[in-house]
């Protein structure tokens, strides 16, 4: 399996606090291959951004990786120190965040920011780097590049800024891009442009993409595979078609039913009663058991795990022994 770009095994992220240790990410394993878009969905606080931040080596202290491993194209990266991680970020892993205004420096022209990043990661000289910056801006669809390259971030609209951020992430042709809610701050018509752009780049360059979002619609259109997170654990993994159309985990089933449809008329939306437990109050056994209609005694005792890494649900339903 040489085309596996990202390999995460049993990742566990902990936050020691005065009231005890909180586990934000609890035993997550996933893989992303070359040219593949993996969607990470979940409600706020489910741990999807924490997983992305651990991969980027950007966990805010006191958060730390307590167990597990992260490999990037075969090289272990979770044990590297900050300096080593800095050269990997940007060169081998690109990052795109939700708010394009905060990922760009407002005091520098976008062209200079691109040139700086390109020169940091490659051996191009200033003039060559500027040409490369223009190529990148054209590639991400910015019109009138010759004039726009000397503009400041505030002179761009939200969608155009996010394109610049994508261009920045692409500077060193990374193997992996971690995109954390890249379209959440944008309007729908712009959102479609950005997701289409991400997909095209991924296809053309063979970049692996981890797309973190709470929007199931974006996932359905963009991702190849989906990982659904709940209370720091993986609830279900599978191809987009499987998870969206034939969800297995009761949480995923409820999640799909609660999204208002564009086609069907329903008097009442399906609801999942209650809300996701806080990190300091995760129940024993399956974290979803207090909200699950089909929970049995086993769900209160044992934590279910996903059998294989490629697809499946972390649920005792349908397994040997069932929920009893």
């Amino acid at each position: 399996m040489s085309d596996v770009v990202l390999d995460v095994q049993n990742l566990r992220v902990e936050f020691p606090t005065r009231k005890g240790t909180l586990t934000a990410v609890d035993g997550i394993s996933l893989q992303i291959r070359r040219g593949e878009v993996l969607g990470m969905v979940g409600e706020s606080g489910a741990g999807k951004s924490m997983t992305g931040m651990s991969i980027l080596g950007l966990l805010e202290p006191p958060g730390r990786i307590a167990a597990g491993s992260i490999h990037l194209s075969g090289d272990r990266i979770d044990t590297l120190d900050d300096r080593a991680m800095q050269t990997i970020r940007g060169r081998r892993i690109g990052a795109i965040f939700q708010d394009p205004l905060t990922s760009l420096n407002p005091l520098f022209r976008v062209g200079d920011q691109l040139v700086e990043t390109i020169r940091l990661h490659t051996s191009l000289d200033k003039a060559q780097a500027r040409e490369r910056a223009k190529d990148l801006m054209r590639e991400v669809g910015i019109p009138a590049v010759e004039e726009r390259i000397d503009n400041y971030p505030h002179q761009f609209s939200g969608g155009m800024r996010q394109r610049i951020v994508i261009a920045l992430a692409l500077c060193a042709e990374p193997e992996l891009i971690v995109a954390d809610e890249p379209t959440t701050a944008l309007d729908v018509s712009i959102q479609a442009q950005i997701t289409a752009l991400l997909k095209r780049l991924c296809r053309e360059r063979g970049t692996a993409v981890m797309l973190v979002t709470h929007d199931m619609g974006v996932i359905a259109e963009t991702a190849d595979r989906v990982a659904v997170m709940y209370a720091g654990r993986l609830a279900e993994v599978g191809t987009v078609d499987d998870v969206v159309r034939h969800p297995k985990h009761p949480y995923t089933v409820g999640l799909m039913g609660s999204i208002p449809s564009l086609r069907k008329d329903v008097e009442e939306l399906q609801m999942i009663p209650g809300s996701m437990p806080r990190l300091n109050a995760i129940p024993p056994g399956c974290a979803f058991n207090p909200r699950c209609m089909r929970a049995g005694p086993r769900c209160h005792r044992e934590v279910p795990r996903i059998a294989t890494e490629q697809s499946g649900a972390a649920c005792w339903l349908g397994t040997q022994g069932g929920v009893a």
């Binding site: 409600e43 706020s44 609209s157 969608g159 155009m160 309007d187 729908v188 018509s189 712009i190 959102q191 479609a192 442009q193 289409a196 709470h214 929007d215 199931m216 619609g217 974006v218 359905a220 259109e221 963009t222 987009v240 969206v244 409820g254 999640l255 799909m256 039913g257 609660s258 999204i259 208002p260 449809s261 564009l262 086609r263 329903v266 008097e267 009442e268 939306l269 399906q270 609801m271 999942i272 809300s275 996701m276």
Partner: protein, 326 residues
């Protein structure tokens, strides 16, 4: 414009301009002109009692400004808002349940505030009984009244906002993106609650959202806004079955559809222009695939007399004439 039977709110040629000029000294030294932003630019709509009218559109289209004009938080710069009801029985639910509740007040005090303001002579024991009732109505426990807002999740806080809005026994609720700060499973709980309350209490909603699937679920009539104007207004089922304005078609085409994801889409280019200097004529013409010369010079008619089925588009008007008016 005469009062329509059963109309609770009539909005007529509503306008709101904001002065966005540079500070006085800059205007003097740099010779910058005064600039006005037309946030709402000639909007007409009517809401029937017991119905839900939804305003949809992208950010900056003026939908939240309309909410503030209707509730009286901003005075209009032109046009009329006629509310055929008790002004005290108009309430609002805001988008951000973290910013709209006073963090230093206990929930019971927050919910009782409209009661104390609108009916100050209510005896205390009646107030607390009413608060307990309201908490039960929105699916919380009476004991929750003693807690502070920070002890609740986003969805529960939005329930508190709804309870507060219901305290004044409203007949008309203005809901500005009430669920866009919530996760989908929680959003479903809040939307179901709002629908149930509407049925039980005969409430009228002005529902503002950017999410077309939410709006489809909630609204009887949908008005699509673009740069301060309503470009199309139709009953919900008709709007989705037969969108007339090219912008509505663009919106419906770009929202990701779970049941039929368009994985190989080629999204429409272009962005919403700045409302400070909107394009001439029909403001959508630079992005419109059907635009012709007339669209660049002339603004499509408002036609306020047709209250729930009209389109502001020269190209689509011919299509509309074939559909019988309601």
């Amino acid at each position: 414009m005469s009062i329509r039977p059963n109309a609770i709110l009539e909005v007529d040629a509503l306008e709101r301009r904001f002065d966005v000029s540079a500070p006085w000294l800059n205007r003097l030294i740099e010779r910058k002109p005064r600039q006005t932003l037309r946030a709402v630019d000639g909007v007409d709509f009517t809401i029937q009692r017991g119905q839900t009218l939804a305003l949809v559109g992208e950010s900056g289209c003026g939908k939240s400004t309309i909410a503030k004009l209707v509730t009286g938080l901003h005075p209009p710069s032109g046009g009329k808002i006629r509310f055929h009801g008790d002004r005290d029985r108009l309430q609002m639910i805001f988008q951000d349940p973290f910013a709209s509740l006073n963090p230093r007040w206990r929930v019971a005090r927050i919910i009782a505030e409209p009661l104390r303001t609108l009916r100050p002579d209510t005896p205390l024991d009646q107030v607390s009984a009413r608060v307990e009732d309201l908490l039960r109505t929105v699916g919380l426990a009476p004991a929750d009244g003693l807690k502070f807002p920070h002890e609740f999740s986003g969805g529960q806080r939005q329930r508190i906002s709804i309870a507060r809005a219901l305290a004044g026994e409203p007949e008309f609720l203005v809901c500005d993106e009430p669920t866009s700060a919530l996760d989908v499973s929680v959003q479903a709980q809040v939307l179901n609650l709002m629908k149930k309350l509407q049925k039980e209490m005969g409430l009228t909603y002005l529902f503002i959202s950017h999410d077309l699937s939410v709006v489809r679920h909630m609204a009887d009539v949908i008005a699509v806004m673009y740069l301060g104007r309503i470009v199309e207004i139709q009953p919900t089922a008709d709007l989705f079955a037969n969108p007339l304005h090219p912008y509505t078609q663009l919106l419906l085409d770009t929202i990701p559809d779970l049941e039929a994801p368009k994985r190989d889409r080629s999204p429409m280019a272009g962005e919403v222009p700045s409302p400070v200097s909107p394009p001439s004529g029909c403001s959508f013409h630079p992005r419109c695939p059907r635009a012709f010369d007339r669209c660049k010079q002339e603004r499509p008619q408002r036609r306020p007399e047709v209250h729930n089925r009209r389109v502001a588009c020269f190209a689509a008007e011919t299509t509309l004439e074939r559909i019988p008016h309601v």
